[in-house]
Amino acid sequence: MASMVGYLGLSLLLFVIGAIGVCIRRNAIVVFMCIEMMLNAVNLSFVTFSKLNGNLDGQIAVFFVMVIAAAEAAVGLAIILAVFRSVASVETSDAAELKW
């Protein structure tokens, strides 16, 4: 149905917004949140296609994405904390030790 197009369009839009955010923001935690937003956009897309194709595979996929996202959140934030301990900052530009 044509109405599904809207959901897909929204999913795409949110994905792109998240991608832009990932590139623009310097705060590592905010970058992480943008990544979560991208994942969510994809989840929406999965659900929409599940509805279109007539089976629940898409929704199962979303389930697993959520599981992984949870694990990823835990580990990612732990990393940010660990980096913060040595650098005392969460800004991505401060963790750069390569001399350009």
Partner: protein, 182 residues
């Protein structure tokens, strides 16, 4: 897309822009919570009831709480210093627009072939309530389900190891005003 769906979509986009727009990371976090809530609403509209609820419980309830904890813990100043550069922003925006514009057409074309009757039938079948989801999870996708529990375990162990306290001194930098030891 129903009227409700449209409203929710608007809210989702607005909060999305809020996530990337706010200087204060706390505001970004709250915007994200709002975004996740609207997503849950959208799932519900699409008859994925189980997912809608687990979205609120897991994402908004657990993950975002964790993020907020960390943000509070670090007690950061508002993101200072010069912004990352207009050039960068333009490039990123350009890339994004490029993706958008390219993807739009195939999406529309995809649906031309499908007949309306088929779609309605499919729509009727996919009601994502607990029972049907459960059937799939413990039936067809049982192995993946078990493995995902393993992933969670690994995540826990990893997080604990990484966040364990080591007695290291901190070099003060811009933006840090909190406790000496974390």
């Amino acid at each position: 897309m129903t009227f409700m769906g449209f409203v929710l979509a608007l809210c989702a986009v607005a909060s999305g822009i809020g996530v990337i727009g706010f200087r204060n990371p706390l505001y970004s976090a709250f915007s994200l919570v709002a975004n996740l809530m609207t997503m849950a609403g959208l799932y519900a509209l699409l008859d994925a009831h189980f997912l809608a609820v687990s979205q609120i419980v897991v994402y908004a309830g657990a993950i975002m709480v964790l993020v907020l904890f960390v943000l509070m813990l670090l007690n950061l100043k508002v993101e200072g210093g010069p912004k990352l550069g207009v050039v960068r922003a333009t490039i990123a925006l350009g890339a994004g627009v490029l993706i958008l514009m390219t993807a739009v057409q195939p999406i529309f074309r995809h649906f031309e072939g499908m007949s309306a009757i088929n779609l309605r039938e499919n729509a009727a079948r996919t009601v994502g309530d607990v029972a049907s989801i459960g059937e799939q999870l413990f039936g067809r996708y049982l192995v993946q389900f078990e493995l995902s529990s393993l992933v969670l375990l690994i995540g826990i162990v990893g997080a604990v190891m990484l966040a364990k306290r080591k007695s290291a001194t901190l070099a003060p930098r811009d933006g840090y005003q909190g406790a000496k030891e974390v």
